[in-house]
Symmetry: C2
Subunit: 314 residues, 2 copies
């Protein structure tokens, strides 16, 4: 039996799964801390892959979702604030020399889009947008049955577009990005700023997104306004992307989307008012990710399987 | 000899050209008014095609660039303010029954991108953005060697994205779109509004874009500011598109771009400050269209040739 190895790497944890050929259910699945004393995280990655391979089995490919932009030709992570020791390191070559199978890197938000398209909520669609809304906003696009990568693999930075010129500061250093307006960090920054300016609320200091969500459900006016505002800007952003990509499905993942209608009601309201014509909304599916925490892992699986299909010599 | 017929249809003129197989130089080229007394514009289109076919030649396909969004599956124009009698009419079927060759419709801005990619400034690139800036702003995208169309052919409305929430009114009825900020109409509207509010300038009343351009070259402060402002917002918009598509080339066409650095200097200044990382600018070509008024015609040619290649039964 041939197996495919998929990994999802984060700044705190890394996960591996082993999938028998053509199967969607893994035979092995493990999650470990990315960093520990005494071992480099790249060594830990290699050992984790070795542990996932059943004795005597052949590995056809390894797919890896990483938290940063990837140069797909060189197989390196360009920048990874959470994984500084991985930046610029040719991880696939290292894996290939240790495991004897080809390895492929992809940006985790892009691969989440690929995973949801192949194995999750986006099955059967040809044009798909995926947004992950947590501390930041990431995205991935399937256009005409292919993952959008761009000339150097840097496309689909859907959170880093200017929605409000001179708006609030984004984690990237620019102002008014969708991420600065509608991510968990953006929502929390808005509430903190309003509290600091003397707004009355059941919240105090610098509350986290989950506290703001709870306060909103308890009727706190500022907390509700914070989600209303984030949803409004998210709707403006999504409307832009409908005009740009004309997708048939938009999928939302990430922790912040668990607040549900608190964010999605104002998003839909702005979206419906902001499209160029009703044609963009006809038959459009707006939904949440099906694969939960496994979107990146399934995207890595799809990447590995696609890569060996498109490189039959491997 | 087999020939391909290409047409570019506008609200005031329509043009036809006949291209021998595999050739880029037409053997016939004619431009007529779209409307006249006594004939419908669709009848004029059919007669123009018939006139373009040399006696005894076989036509393999007809490609048509039209000024409005197209449903590529149904082969109809969805909305065309300048060609109301074409809306919803199955033009390709009519042509096929009269000419005996398959016909294919495409949105003119999309086809301009296709034309510049195949025959113009974008040759050899795999990821290309094309903007046409005239009274409006249209666009087209080549992503991974394919024209971006979306689920219903409505993608790449690059001028109709919100850049400045609650900004100036766009021709489409929305506010703050790139088109409302950086098109000729947007520039003229800004100057007219500033003049109405009492700004001093060599311009008076409601000047046209070409007068504003002339005034700017003569040192008029308001006129210069108008292009500075348009270029700034264009730079914000293009920066967004770099993060979304990561192209290797951006091509500008359309009458307003003839003002040159008056628009492009502030655009580049904002663009350089607004990208997420320097990687987006590495090796990026920013240039103007090579095919001039013929971009749509060459796009229609490329559409016709591609369509018969991908439908070998034809």
């Amino acid at each position: 039996m041939t197996i495919t190895i998929a990994l999802d790497i984060g700044g705190t944890h890394m996960r591996v799964a082993a999938f028998p050929e053509s199967e969607k259910k893994p035979t092995f699945h493990k999650r470990i801390r990315t960093y520990t004393n005494g071992e480099t995280s790249i060594d830990r990655l290699i050992n984790l892959i070795l542990e996932a391979i059943p004795p005597g089995e052949r590995v056809d490919a390894v797919g890896i979702a990483v938290p940063g932009p990837v140069d797909p030709e060189k197989g390196i992570i360009l920048t990874a604030p959470n994984l500084p020791e991985w930046e610029g390191v040719p991880i696939p070559q290292r894996i290939e020399s240790e495991i004897g199978a080809p390895a492929f890197l992809g940006n985790d938000a892009n691969l989440a889009a690929l995973g949801e398209w192949r194995y999750g909520a986006g099955r059967g669609h040809h044009d798909l947008l995926y947004f992950t809304i947590s501390t930041g906003i990431g995205g991935g696009v399937i256009s005409n049955d292919r993952l959008l990568l761009g000339a150097h693999g840097l496309a689909a930075e859907l959170g880093h577009v200017t929605i409000l010129p001179d708006g609030p500061l984004c984690g990237c250093g620019q102002r008014g990005h969708l991420e600065a307006l509608a991510s968990g960090t953006g929502i929390a920054a808005y509430v903190a700023e309003q509290l600091a300016s003397g707004r009355s609320s059941s919240l105090i200091g610098k509350p986290e997104t989950k506290d703001i969500s709870q306060a909103a459900k308890n009727g706190d006016e500022l907390a509700n306004e914070a989600f209303q505002r984030a949803g409004h800007y998210l709707g403006l952003g999504v409307a832009n992307y409908l005009m740009i990509f004309n997708p048939s499905i938009v999928i939302f993942g990430g922790g912040v989307t668990q607040v549900g209608d608190l964010l999605f009601d104002p998003m839909r309201e702005t979206l419906n008012k902001s499209v160029l014509s009703k044609h963009y909304l006809q038959g459009l599916v707006i939904t949440t990710a099906e694969l939960g925490d496994n979107t990146g892992l399934y995207g890595a699986l799809a990447l590995a399987r696609d890569s060996i299909l498109s490189n039959p010599k491997l």
